[in-house]
């Protein structure tokens, strides 16, 4: 199953003119933030950083789902995994994230029934096959994956399952952009907006944010040519003094997004004020399960005891997520915080900014 049309977007002949253009026209020092963790990794993996002029610096934003998950929520996941007769299902990223006292990985080694799934369909299937157990899916992520989790709730309802639930720790991107702009220290001059999130919510979802802040914003795809195209557009907007909300991922992103996914989101979830790690509570920036589906809301069903949650001491994840520090500026980075023994979530997730720096950043 060879995937088509990948090579074109990694083509040196297509990327070279874009790199040349960025180097030619960029004059003004500009801090540009890629909001999405997959962008961060793609930028590092393709070596884009090594080819940009000194005027362009890239900041990695709060778009790594695991990284922005509040410590209390991680602790709640771990507490769920300790309950008898509960099977916890999750995407792989969460396994190693340290909570206040433990991690899912350690709970699994201790005998907790924790299963990594590729899709919520698998989680529902596990619930169907284990009627004597309660199956909880840990709903972490942005608008990208939230529809598939909404679909699992809707499917479980249709199948009449009474042993499937979701702990919803979902986050929304546009409110986070507002929160980032509220922090002048970050000095963000433009945003590379996430690709997959935008496939779901559409370009117009950023319109209110753009009208408020009039800052260059370009939606980008994930291949090197996509990202370079977006960077070239941002630099062009900055040099021309003409900020715009633009789309460099036209083959996937429309103005209105995916209406079916949006409808499903709205049916199952409602926006809520939620806490982001390192940022704090952002109004209407999370998705909680609507009352009509509260029988599948793990947060309401289970009575779990949480330790007094505390964020790891000295960890600069919060500053890193908001663009006010780069990982090498954190005193723990590469000293006591490494992927083997991570202190904060940004070092754990493959999409975490600190892990990406650790893995790919050339500091020589």
């Amino acid at each position: 199953m060879a995937l088509k049309h990948i090579d074109e977007y990694r083509d040196a002949a297509l990327s070279r003119p874009l790199i040349d253009k960025i180097n030619r026209i960029s004059r003004t020092p500009a801090r540009l933030m890629e909001v999405c963790g997959t962008h961060t990794v793609s930028i590092f993996r393709s070596g884009i950083r090594s080819m940009l002029p000194d005027t362009v610096s890239l900041l990695s934003g709060p778009g790594c789902p695991v990284c922005v998950t509040d410590q209390k929520e991680i602790d709640a996941f771990i507490a769920l995994a300790r309950l008898d007769d509960v099977i916890v299902t999750t995407f792989g990223d969460l396994m190693r994230v340290p909570g206040t006292l433990s991690s899912l990985q350690k709970e699994k080694a201790d005998g907790g029934d924790i299963r990594i799934v590729y899709s919520t369909t698998d989680a529902v299937e596990i619930a169907r096959k284990n009627p004597e157990k309660q199956v909880v899916f840990l709903g972490v992520g942005f608008e990208t994956t939230a529809p598939t989790i909404a679909a699992s709730i809707s499917t479980a309802r249709r199948l009449g399952l009474d042993n499937y639930s979701v702990y919803s720790a979902h986050k929304l991107v546009p409110p986070a952009l507002d929160a980032l702009m509220a922090n002048p220290q970050a000095q963000i001059a433009g945003f590379i907006l996430p690709g997959h999130v935008s496939v779901v919510i559409g370009l117009d979802a950023y319109r209110p944010f753009f009208e408020t802040h009039r800052i260059p914003c370009v939606v980008a795809g994930f291949e090197p040519v996509d990202l370079l195209q977006a960077l070239a557009m941002l630099v062009e907007q900055i040099e021309g003094g003409a900020p715009a909300l633009a789309n460099a991922y036209g083959r996937a992103v429309t103005a209105e997004g995916n209406p079916i996914a949006r409808k499903l989101l709205d049916e199952i979830f409602e926006p809520a004020d939620v806490a982001w790690r390192g940022i704090g509570v952002i109004p209407q920036s999370g998705l909680k399960i609507r009352e009509a589906f509260s029988d599948m809301d793990a947060e309401k069903i289970f009575d779990i005891q949480l330790p007094e949650s505390r964020d790891p001491k000295g960890c600069a994840c919060g500053e890193v997520l908001t663009g006010t520090k780069t990982p090498p500026e954190c005193p723990l980075y590469k000293t006591i915080c490494t992927p083997i023994d991570p202190v904060g979530p940004c070092m754990v997730s493959t999409e975490g900014t600190c892990a990406a720096y650790y893995k790919y950043y050339d500091d020589r």
Partner: protein, 336 residues
Amino acid sequence: MKFDKILLDHGSGGKISHSLTRDLLLPIFGNPILDDLNDGAIVELNGLRLAFSTDSYTVDPIFFPGGSIGDLAVNGTVNDIAMCGGNPQYLSVGLIIEEGFSLEDLETILRQMAAAAEKAEVTVITGDTKVVPKGAVDKIFINTSGFGIIPDAVRVGSTRAAVGDKIILSGTMADHGATIVTQREGLSFESAVASDSAPLNHMVARMFAAGPQIHVLRDPTRGGVGTALNEIAEKSAVGIRIVEEAMPVKKEVAGICELLGFDPLYLANEGKLLAFVAPSDAERVLEAIRADEFGKDAAIIGEVIDGRPGQVVMLTRIGGQRIVDMLTGEQLPRIC
């Protein structure tokens, strides 16, 4: 957080596995031969140099496209001996079988082991069988050990990489790892991928016949090519530069990796080798590998560079440069 329990990551072949070896096993067993941490031990007995290696095999599923736990167990040890420059001759086989395991499956596995041994021209000369209660192991675990004599002129080891060496990969990356992942997850794709499980001892013999200046041999199994290159860079205290464009990967495997968020650099190979060869011999050795039935897609993927000791860098397809780090723990499927 420090570990007080064994995690699956400790078996991943990446950094966390290394820390287990370094912090627990070496302090207890350490000696000059073990401390080398090669694929096998190299010992001198009565003027003969022997390569001795052992490996235990657990794989889920036990049968997969391109092989089974049986041929994996034979090929793996044959290859470990070959990577020490040894000519593998004799193997031992230890079986740990779960109560209730199908006799028919056992016979199939044993026959596949025999076929693999015949192909590699090694003989199984001793063995052991244990049966444990249901649940004490998952179906069947196999240990094989073996040894081979290292010819006089052959001097290979992971500390011997030299500036200027060309790095050859004997074929496409990640075939085995991608196959196991898709089988384990029950993912079916239009065009099947298959494990590359194969014996490499005949290929190695051809290589030494073609060009003696081979400094390092390594089969990039667990942890993949990325981890193996890092180990060599570290142990030889040299820098390594690889070229993304030159790395052979099957289109199907690349597609699976894209979909599941895996990096082929860190997925296991069971029938591939990395060779560090002096530039004067590189082309001849490459031709010798390509002439072997398991080396048709071999390519020079990079070279050993001056500076950056211990580091692996990659020239990316679009002309950028980045670090290639060692695998940390198991690669896990991501959120999005």
